[in-house]
C-alpha cells in the first residue's frame, strides 16, 4: 500500500468481495422466518424475566402464611418482615439492573454508549456490596427471630445450638453465593470493563 491509489484499490476489493460472496436472502419467506425467530427470541427473554419475578412473588406469598400459621408471635412477624424486605430489596435491585442491561443504548454514538455501559456494569457489580450485605444480615436476623419464636419451650443450650447452626448455614451459603458471583464478575465482567475503558481512553 504505497499511496492512496493502493488504498482505494483495497477498498474496492474489500467492498466488492463481501457483496458478491455473502448473498442476501432472495425469498420473502426467508426474511419473515428471521423476524419470526427474533420475535420468539425476544418473547423468550421476556418470559424468563417474568418467570423470575413470579417465582419471587410465589416464594414470598407462600412462605409468609405458612410461617405465620406455625406461630404468629411478634418475633415471627418481625423475622418474616425482615426476610421479605431484605429479599425484595436485593432481587428488586438485581432485576432492575438486568432489565436496564437488556436496554443498553446500542444506537448511541460509541463514546456515549461506552459511558452508559460502564455505568451499568459498575452498578450491576455493586449489587454485591451494600444490597447483598443488607440481604444477608436481614436473612440472618430474620431466620434467628423465626427460630427464637418457634423454640420458646426448648432448653436454652439447645436453642443456642440451633441458632448457631442456622446462622452458620446462612453465613456459609451467602459466602459461597458471593464467591461464585465474584468469580464470575472477575472472569466475565472485568475483562469487558477493562476493554471499554481502554477504548474510551483511546477515543
Amino acid at each position: 500500500m504505497n499511496n492512496s491509489n493502493d488504498f482505494a484499490e483495497l477498498q474496492a476489493l474489500w467492498v466488492s468481495k463481501g457483496a458478491t460472496t455473502v448473498s442476501t436472502p432472495q425469498k420473502p419467506e426467508a426474511m419473515s422466518s428471521i423476524t419470526d425467530r427474533l420475535r420468539k427470541f425476544q418473547s423468550f427473554q421476556d418470559k424468563i424475566n417474568r418467570i423470575k419475578l413470579i417465582a419471587l412473588i410465589l416464594i414470598i406469598t407462600t412462605t409468609m402464611p405458612t410461617a405465620l400459621m406455625a406461630s404468629n408471635t411478634l418475633y415471627t412477624i418481625a423475622g418474616l418482615a425482615l426476610i421479605v424486605a431484605g429479599t425484595a430489596i436485593f432481587f428488586g435491585y438485581y432485576l432492575r439492573n438486568q432489565f436496564k442491561m437488556s436496554k443498553l443504548p446500542f444506537g448511541k454514538p460509541t463514546n456515549e454508549f461506552i459511558e452508559a455501559a460502564l455505568a451499568l456494569l459498575t452498578k450491576q457489580n455493586a449489587i454485591f456490596k451494600s444490597p447483598f450485605v443488607l440481604f444477608s444480615v436481614a436473612l440472618g436476623i430474620g431466620a434467628n427471630l423465626l427460630v427464637w419464636s418457634m423454640l420458646e419451650n426448648e432448653v436454652m443450650l439447645e436453642r443456642i445450638q440451633i441458632h448457631l447452626f442456622i446462622s452458620g448455614m446462612i453465613a456459609a451459603s451467602t459466602t459461597i453465593g458471593y464467591l461464585i458471583r465474584l468469580w464470575r464478575i472477575r472472569n466475565e465482567v472485568y475483562p469487558i470493563m477493562d476493554e471499554l475503558v481502554k477504548i474510551k481512553e483511546s477515543l
Binding site: 500500500m1 504505497n2 488504498f7 483495497l10 477498498q11 476489493l13 474489500w14 467492498v15 468481495k17 463481501g18 457483496a19 460472496t21 455473502v22 442476501t24 436472502p25 426467508a30 426474511m31 419473515s32 422466518s33 428471521i34 423476524t35 425467530r37 427474533l38 427470541f41 425476544q42 423468550f44 427473554q45 437488556s102 436496554k103 443498553l104 443504548p105 446500542f106 444506537g107 448511541k108 454514538p109 460509541t110 463514546n111 456515549e112 454508549f113 461506552i114 455501559a117 472472569n187 466475565e188 465482567v189 475483562p191 469487558i192 476493554e195 471499554l196 477504548i199 483511546s202 477515543l203
Partner: protein, 167 residues
C-alpha cells in the same frame, strides 16, 4: 408484516453485507464472525423501538454494529445457546471469501492485517473501507471529523507496515 418488521427487513437487505464485513474486519474468524453478526442483528432488532430518526438509518445501524462489536464477549452472554441459530440458515457454512478467486489472497492478507490492529482502530478502518466519509464516522463514534482524519492516517500507516510484513 408490522412496521418494525418491515424496517428490520429493509435494514437486513441493505446492510447485511456491510455489517458482515465490519464483523469480519473486527474478528477474522468465521465462527466468531457469524456469532458477532447475529449479536449485531439481534441488537438492531431489540433497539429498533428506540430509533427516533434523529440520525440517518445507516449511521444508526453502523453505530449498533460498532457498539455491539465493542461489547461483544462470548463468555458474557447468557442466552448463547438460544441465540446461536437465529441466522444460521441464512449464513450457511461456506467460507466468506472464495479461495479460488485470484484476489482472495490479497483480501485475506488485508483482513488478517486489520485483525492485528487495536480493536477500536479495526472498526474505524472497516468504516473507512466501507467508503464512509469522516463526518459520518465521527457521528458514529462520537469524536470530531478532524480527529477521525488523524486516526485514519495513523491506522493506514500501521496497516501499510502490517501488509508489508505479510508479503
Amino acid at each position: 408484516m408490522t412496521k418494525k418488521e418491515e424496517l428490520f427487513a429493509s435494514i437486513y437487505k441493505d446492510y447485511r453485507d456491510k455489517i458482515y464485513r465490519i464483523c469480519y474486519g473486527y474478528i477474522y474468524q468465521k465462527d466468531d464472525v457469524d456469532d458477532l453478526f447475529q449479536e449485531v442483528m439481534t441488537n438492531v432488532w431489540n433497539s429498533l423501538d428506540s430509533f427516533r430518526g434523529e440520525s440517518q438509518i445507516g449511521t444508526w445501524v453502523y453505530r449498533v454494529a460498532v457498539n455491539s462489536a465493542i461489547f461483544y464477549n462470548r463468555k458474557f452472554k447468557n442466552y448463547q445457546s438460544a441465540k446461536s441459530n437465529l441466522f444460521k440458515e441464512q449464513l450457511g457454512d461456506e467460507p466468506i471469501y472464495d479461495t479460488t478467486d485470484p484476489n482472495s489472497d490479497r483480501l485475506n492478507s488485508l483482513a488478517k492485517a486489520i485483525s492485528q490492529l487495536e480493536k477500536q482502530d479495526r472498526l474505524i478502518i472497516s468504516l473507512v473501507l466501507e467508503g464512509l466519509p469522516y463526518e459520518e464516522i465521527a457521528e458514529i463514534v462520537g469524536i470530531t471529523a478532524n480527529y477521525v482524519g488523524v486516526k485514519v492516517s495513523r491506522i493506514k500507516n500501521q496497516l501499510k507496515n502490517l501488509l508489508k510484513d505479510e508479503q
